[in-house]
Symmetry: D2
Subunit: 337 residues, 4 copies
C-alpha cells in the first residue's frame, strides 16, 4: 500500500507530538525527514524515531526529492514563507496555525495554494478533529438544537505556565491572535456565519507584564454575527484548575456544552477537597487524539485526492477577525467588519 | 415575644408564596392582612391562611392601624406609589423588584425612604438570600478566588412558559428590565463595582412577537466595570431544560460556578436518555428557600432595628443600569455610563 | 387556629435542632416545654426559644397537663420506657430512632402504641422526608424504573468525627444498629419487601478501637429480599469527603441515584484541586429540611387525626433486621430471616 | 526497525477491532495473516487491510513460518487448544479471555506457557490498559487513598443488546464467567489480594430465558478478601443507559470512582430531558483506546523480551474464582475458597 513520505520541521512540544504521531500512529505514512535548528534535539529525536534524513534548514529539507509532504511546526513568523516554498517545491503542506502573521501574508498563502490546486493544503485547527467537537457539530448541523442563539467559548491556559506566556508575550501577537483564533474558527464552523461587529475588553488582572504589549492576561469580546448569533469569547492565562477549553452552543431547542469540566480522564476523586475531577494540564493532553485524527485526515486527503474541510481561506479569515478583535481591544471602540 | 404584623398585597404566584411563607414559615411574624383586587382569590387565600383582615384596595389596607409592615407584590407600575404611601402611613416596607418603572420614580422612592429613616425598607433581590449565592459571596469576599476577572450570568426562562412571556411583553419593559435586573444586582454585589460601558445584542430567534416591543427572546450584553471586571450577562426565554439561573465568577486564583446544573434535587436518573439531572421548573422552585430567608431578614431587621444590606439605592442603581442596557440593545451603540 | 403544644426531651445536637424547628419553623405548633438533665443547657435554650416550662426529668414533663405531644431525643436506652410512659400519660409521641435497644423492647413499644389507637406515634426516619428521596420514591412507585433489581445504600460518617464514633462505640450497638438502620428502612420502603438472607463482612481498616466491641469502622452486607431484589448496604466511619448518604435503585427500566455527590449546595469550585463540589459535613446539614418536614408531618397528623406512614412496626422490623445483620457480621455466617 | 508479524484468528466484532488496530495503529508490527471460518468475511477484511495470507483453519495459519505471533479472538472453547498449539509452533500468543472454559484447561494453558519460557503470552484483560484505570491504579499503589476498604464494580450490558445475550446464554457460562471476570481481575489487581469467601445472589428480573441456564439477567456477589477488603461485584444485562463499567475503590483516606458516568465524550446536552450525558454503547466504544494500548504492550514485550504484567496465572485464577461465584450463585450457599 502507498506510503506518504512526510518531512516535519520544528521539534518543540507540538512539533515533537506531530513527529511521533507520524512515526507511530498515522496509517499509510512514513516520517521520512526531520528538520530543526537545534542539532542535539534533531538527532536525539531522529534516532529515537528511526529517521535517516535530518536537516537544520527548511530549504535543504524541501530539496529532498522523495518527500511527498511537509508538516510545519515552525515559529509563526515563518509559516507563510515556508508554505509558499513547500508548495512551489511540489509538496503537500500541513501547517500549524497561524497561516501568517499579517493579513498580507495570508493573502500570499492563499495565492500559493490557488497556484497549486493539485496539492493538499491543510491548517492545524485540531479542535475540529476532537471527537466531542465533532459529535456536537453533527448535532448542530442536524438541527437538533434548533437555531443558534449564543456561541460561548473559553480558552484558558493554566496559571502555572504563566512564565512561558510572559516570555512569549512580545511575539505572540496577544491573546486574540494567540489563543482566541481556535474559538474564532469554531464560531464560524458551528454557526456557518461571519462576524459583523465586535466589542472587546479585558486587562492585566494578575500579571501587569502583559500591559507592555498592549495585551491583557484575560480578555473577552462580544460579537454579533450576520445570522444574528451572539458570540462571546473569553481567553485567559490564569486558569487555576488546568487547561480549560470549553464551548457552549445555546440553540432555540437545545444546548450543548463541550468540556464543561475539562477532565483528564474518567476518574472521580472523593477526598478532603470534596468530590472532584482533575483537569487536563495542557493542549497536548486535552487534544491528544485530535492531533492524531487531523494528521490522519491530511494523509487520507493526499491519498484520496480530496481537499480538507479546513481551507486556506478559513485560516486567512480567522486571522483577519482576530486582528479586528485585537484592534477593538486596544482602541476600546465598537468595531464593524 | 414580639410579632411583626404584616399586610401583603398581590396574590399572584409570587404574592401567594410570600403570603404563605409569612403565615407559616417566618418567625416572629403574623400575616395580619391581605389585599387583592380579585375578591374570589382574596377570600380563598385568606380563609386558607386564617387571615381576618381583607382588602381590595391598598389604601384601605395601609389604613389598618395595627399593621407594622407591608409586603408589595403588586404590578411593577404601582410599586413606587405604594412604597411612598406605605412609608407615609408609618409602615415598614418590603417591595418586590423593581423599585419603580422609571429612573424618576426611583428617585421618588429614594426620597421617601430617606424621609423615614426609622422605617425598614427592603427590596426583593432574593438571590442574595440563596444559600449557594451566599456561600459563593463569602468566598469571593474572603479573597479565596483572588481578584475578579469575569462575572458571567445567565437568566433563562423555560420555553414552555413562552406564552406568558409573550402576553407580558408589552408591559415587561424587555428582557434587561424584566430578567437581567437580578444579574445586574449580583454583578454589583459580587464585584463591589459599577459599570462603565455596555454593548448589547440579541434578537428574536424563535419568537418574532417580541420584536414589536423592540425586545428579543434572547439578549446579552458585555460591560466593563470600573474595577476592570468584565461582566457578561445573558437573558433568554427559550431554555429547553427548565429555569436556568447560572452564575460564574472567574477570579485570578479560583473560579466559582453557581447552579451550573440547575438541578431540581439530588436525584440522578440513568435511563435511555443517558445520565441526567432534571432541572428546576421556575423561580419559585429554584429560589424556594431564598424567599423564606429574605422575608425572615426583613422581619429580623424590623425587630432588631437594623437596616437590610440591600438598600433603596441598589434598587435605583440597578434600574438605571438596566435602562442603559436596554438603550444599548435598541440603539446597537456602545454606551458609556 | 389550633396549636399543638409540644414538649421536647434531649438537647444534644439533634435535640436542639428539633426544638428550634418546633419553636420557629413548624406550623400550628408551640414549643411548650423543654427537658434536659443539663440545667445550664436547658435554661440557655429555653431562654433563647422563649419556653417557660423547663424540666430535668421526663416524668415531670409528661405530668404537664396542657402538653399535647412529646418529642423524644433522649439516649436510645430510654426510648421505649419514655414512649410507653408518654402514651399512657395521653400524649402523642414522636421518637427518634431506635424504637428500643432490644427486640423485646420493640414489642413493648408496639403494644403501647396498640393500646392507644387514638394517639399519633411516629418514628424519626427522616430520610423518608427528604425531597430527593421522596421524588425518587414516587418514580419507583409509579413504575418508572421497572422492577427493582438492586438497592444499594451507603451511609458514611466523615473521618473527622471519628473521635465521637469511638467514644460512642461501647453504646452504639455497632454500625448496623447505629448507622445502617436508616438504609434498612429505605430498602423496605423502596422495595416493599423484606429480607430473606444476609451475609455481612467488614473490619477495622483504620481504627482498631472498634474491634473491642465486635464492631468495624467499615462494614457491609448483602441481602436477598423476598421479591428477589438484591440489597447491598455499606456503612463506614472514615469518609474522607464528608457525610455521605448515597442510595441507588437499579431497576429493569431505569436507575435512580440519590446524592451520588453529597454536595453542600449548588456551588462548583474550580481551583488547583480540579473541578469540585464540597460536601455536607454531617446529618444535620444534609437533612436540614427533612427534619422540618418530618416534624410538620407529625403535627399535621395530630391535627388531621391521621396516622403517619412510618409505623411502630417499621421501627420494630428495622431493629430486628439490624440485629440479624450484626449477628451475621459477628458470626461470619450466612443467616436466614 | 524490526516488525513483529502477527496472524489473527476470529473476525467477529472484537476480532475485527484487533485486526484493524494491528494493521493501522500498533507500532512495529504487521498484520501478516488472517484466519476465519467465514470465507466471505475473511476475504473482505483481508482485502481491506491489505493482508495476503488468509486461512480458514488455525492449524494452517500457525504453520506459516514467518509469523512471530498470533492473536486469538476465537470462541472461548477453543482458546486453550489454540494457545498450546501456537506456543508449540513457536509463536508468541495474545489470547482473548477466558484462558479456558474449565479449571483443568487453565492448568493445561499454564503448563504450555511454562514449557515455552522464551515466548510472550498475554491475556486480554484490556481494562488494565484503560487510561482511567491506570491512573487510578497508580494512585492506589502510591497509597493515596490509604488502605482499601471496599472494591465495588459494576459491569452492565445495555438492554438493547439483550437478544444477543439470550442467544449466547447457552454457551456463555453465565454472568460471572462471561461478564464478572474482568471485575474479578480488577479486584485482584487493585487490592493485591485474593478472595476467601463468596456469597452470590440475583435472578431473572426482566428476562426469564436466562433461568434455563441457571443464570440470571442481573447477579451480584459479596466477597471477603484475605487482606480484609470487601469486594462487591454486580453484573447485569439490562442497563437502560448504555454500556456501564463502573468501579469504585473506597480507601481509608480517599475514594476513587472510575466511569461513574460512562460518558461517550465530553458533550453535555441540556434539553427537555434535563442536563445529561450520553453513554458509551458497548465495550468497543468504551475501551477503544485500551484495546490499542494492550496490543501495543504485547508487541513491545516481544521486541523488548519482557513479560507482560498480566500472566497466565492471572487468567487461571480469575476463571477459578468466577467458577466459585457461579457455584455460590447456583447453590445459594456461602462458599469458602
Amino acid at each position: 500500500m502507498v506510503k506518504i513520505r512526510i518531512g516535519s520541521i520544528g521539534l518543540g512540544r507540538l512539533g515533537l507530538t506531530h513527529a511521533e504521531n507520524i512515526a507511530n500512529k498515522i496509517r499509510h505514512t512514513e516520517l521520512a525527514a526531520l528538520c530543526d535548528m537545534d542539532e542535539k534535539r534533531l538527532h536525539e529525536t531522529a534516532d529515537r524515531l528511526g529517521v535517516v534524513n535530518r536537516y537544520t534548514t527548511f530549504e535543504e529539507m524541501i530539496a529532498q526529492k522523495d518527500l511527498d509532504a511537509v508538516v510545519l511546526v515552525s515559529p509563526s513568523g515563518l509559516h507563510t514563507k515556508q508554505i509558499v516554498a513547500a508548495l512551489d517545491a511540489g509538496k503537500h503542506v500541513f501547517s500549524e496555525k497561524p497561516l501568517g502573521v499579517t493579513v498580507a501574508e495570508c493573502k500570499e498563502a492563499e495565492k500559493a495554494v490557488e497556484d497549486h490546486p493539485e496539492k493538499v493544503f491543510m491548517l492545524g485547527f485540531m479542535r475540529r478533529f476532537d471527537e466531542s467537537y465533532q459529535y456536537a457539530h453533527k448535532k448542530v448541523a442536524a438541527g437538533e438544537i434548533g437555531k443558534p442563539v449564543l456561541f460561548r467559548a473559553y480558552s484558558q491556559d493554566p496559571e502555572k505556565f504563566i512564565e512561558g506566556g510572559i516570555a512569549f508575550a512580545a511575539h505572540s501577537g496577544g491573546e486574540f491572535l494567540d489563543m482566541a483564533v481556535h474559538d474564532i474558527d469554531l464560531a464560524r464552523w458551528f454557526t456557518g456565519s461571519e462576524p459583523e461587529t465586535v466589542y472587546a475588553i479585558g486587562g492585566c488582572y494578575a500579571h501587569p507584564e502583559f500591559g507592555k504589549y498592549h495585551d491583557g492576561d484575560n480578555v473577552s469580546c462580544l460579537m454579533k454575527f450576520r445570522n444574528d448569533t451572539m458570540v462571546y469569547l473569553f481567553a485567559g492565562r490564569t486558569a487555576p484548575h488546568g487547561y480549560n477549553v470549553e464551548t457552549e452552543i445555546i440553540g432555540t431547542k437545545g444546548i450543548l456544552r463541550i468540556a464543561n469540566v475539562p477532565q483528564k480522564n474518567l476518574v472521580e476523586i472523593l477526598d478532603n477537597h470534596g468530590v472532584r475531577k482533575e483537569c487536563s494540564e495542557n493542549f497536548l493532553e486535552r487534544f491528544d487524539s485530535a492531533y492524531v485524527r487531523e494528521m490522519q485526515e491530511f494523509v487520507d486527503c493526499i491519498i484520496a485526492g480530496r481537499k480538507p474541510e479546513v481551507t486556506v481561506y478559513d485560516g486567512a479569515r480567522v486571522l483577519e477577525i482576530a486582528y479586528k478583535c485585537k484592534e477593538a481591544f486596544e482602541s476600546g471602540e465598537l468595531l464593524k467588519f
